[in-house]
């Protein structure tokens, strides 16, 4: 166990009693070891506090949402009861419409790139920042994610851009690209996603996947295939099954 691992194990309480005693003796002799230990503890406590504040907002938001839903729930039930006679023909029309649409979808060419794009494309959820629905919007970044979660993608794209002018952040860049795709600006999103392939980001698999889908929509199937291969090469769980299936679909389309 190296010095860093020893400190880590001590602070997280996973060091054996005998090793703890030994480490304490070493710290008495080596003041730099003591300083490193204190630094580790300081950073850990700070992150714990930052995380605590974020989790508190999350739980408070859940409480607020629960109260809103319980109030809205009773009003909604009454409204549905009142509308019921009108809903029956509407529901029948909807079912017929859905059946016809699904038939059209089924019978259209499965090799058509735009059909494949529609089949595989889903908006990527916000997994980066928890959004609290308060008026206390603390930063452009949080504001952008609020817009993103509200499906206001044009607004989100603008806010992400403003934030990225101030701060370099590949993870947020991914959401900027996603906002551009969802507001119909795939051409602007593609170079951003391609840049992310060289960056340090937790959204690297996602960047390959969505770039592949844009290339697919642009009918550049070879580029799409190369991107899918890069994604599969990462050997990660994200969209693995879909990527394998899409690769098969593209191979069939090329025959």
């Amino acid at each position: 166990m190296n010095r860093e691992e020893l400190i880590q194990a001590y602070v997280h309480g996973t060091l054996k009693d005998a090793d703890v005693a030994d480490l304490k003796r070493q710290m008495e002799l080596d003041k730099s070891l003591l300083a490193d230990m204190r630094e580790y503890e300081n950073i850990q406590k700070a992150i714990r506090e930052a995380d605590r504040q974020m989790l508190k907002k999350r739980l408070q938001a859940a409480e607020d949402l629960g109260e809103e839903q319980s109030t809205a729930g009773s009003e909604q039930t009454t409204a549905i009861k009142q509308l019921r006679p009108y809903l029956l023909p509407l529901a029948a029309a909807c079912i017929i419409g859905i059946v016809l649409m699904s038939k059209n979808f089924y019978f259209s060419s499965p090799n058509d790139s735009s059909v494949l794009y529609d089949q595989y494309y889903t908006t990527y959820p916000n997994t980066l920042l928890p959004v609290t629905r308060s008026n206390d919007v603390e930063s452009k970044n949080m504001e952008a994610f609020v817009a993103y979660e509200a499906n206001e993608f044009e607004k989100a794209a603008g806010l992400f851009k403003e934030y990225l002018n101030l701060e370099e952040d590949p993870d947020v860049e991914f959401y900027y690209a996603m906002s551009l795709i969802n507001s119909g600006n795939e051409d602007k999103a593609l170079p951003l996603l391609n840049e992310l392939h060289e960056a340090t980001t937790v959204y690297l698999p996602q960047a390959y996947w969505y770039a592949a889908l844009i290339e697919l929509k642009n009918e550049k199937t070879k580029n799409a295939q190369a991107l899918i291969d890069s994604l599969l090469h990462l050997d990660v769980e994200f969209k693995y099954k879909e990527a394998v299936q899409l690769k098969k679909d593209l191979n069939e389309a090329n025959r």
């Binding site: 691992e5 580790y40 300081n42 950073i43 714990r48 506090e49 995380d51 989790l55 701060e167």
Partner: protein
């Protein structure tokens, strides 16, 4: 411990925040009904319960606590009662309270932060999300550099080490700049 609880605990060990939501919902009503016996305001109890669940969750993430003899519910109630006693000792009847629980068996609420720790916490929220992520994995969850490589898309251990080092340097610089400006 029943299997469902063990699964929840495993998820908390992995810092799965949806496990926090589930634990919060599962024990919420029971805890609030229980705490009402101390004649505290409903909003105070709700506040304590939120802090209690967060403390429980963070203990599992940081200390990787394994429940041997007590259930998750007992652990939550232990910490929650401890918090009620610490915050409202003037309002609740201490004798009844001490007779009712063995609060010494559970961790005390977190101590106050030093000024340096407060500054680190404040500026932690302003660094890039990939920096937050890597520092959190290392310092908060206690993952080794090798474990971080396995859990993320970083190329190798050297990439993790250099990124971590850059992020920590950036965080310290922000504090230094802030201290000079204030």
């Amino acid at each position: 411990m029943i299997n469902k609880e063990q699964l929840l605990v495993d998820r908390m060990h992995r810092d799965d925040v949806t496990a926090l939501d589930e634990v919060y919902r599962t024990y919420r009503d029971g805890f609030i009904n229980y705490a009402l016996r101390y004649e505290l305001d409903y909003s105070d109890i709700e506040d304590v319960y939120q802090d209690c669940i967060i403390a429980v969750y963070q203990s599992f993430v940081i200390k990787k606590i394994v429940l041997k003899s007590s259930s998750l519910k007992t652990y939550i109630y232990g910490i929650g009662k401890n918090m009620i006693y610490t915050r409202f000792s003037k309002k609740v009847h201490t004798v009844d309270f001490v007779n009712d629980i063995m609060y010494n068996d559970y961790p005390a609420p977190q101590e106050e932060l030093t000024l340096e720790q407060q500054l680190l916490a404040k500026h932690f929220n302003t660094i890039s999300s990939s920096c937050q992520e890597i520092l959190k994995l290392f310092y908060y969850r206690g993952l080794s550099v090798k474990e971080i490589v396995n859990a993320t898309n970083y190329k190798d251990e050297n990439t993790v080490k250099s990124h971590k080092s850059r992020c920590l340097k950036g965080l310290k610089q922000k504090i230094a700049t802030n201290s000079l400006n204030e």
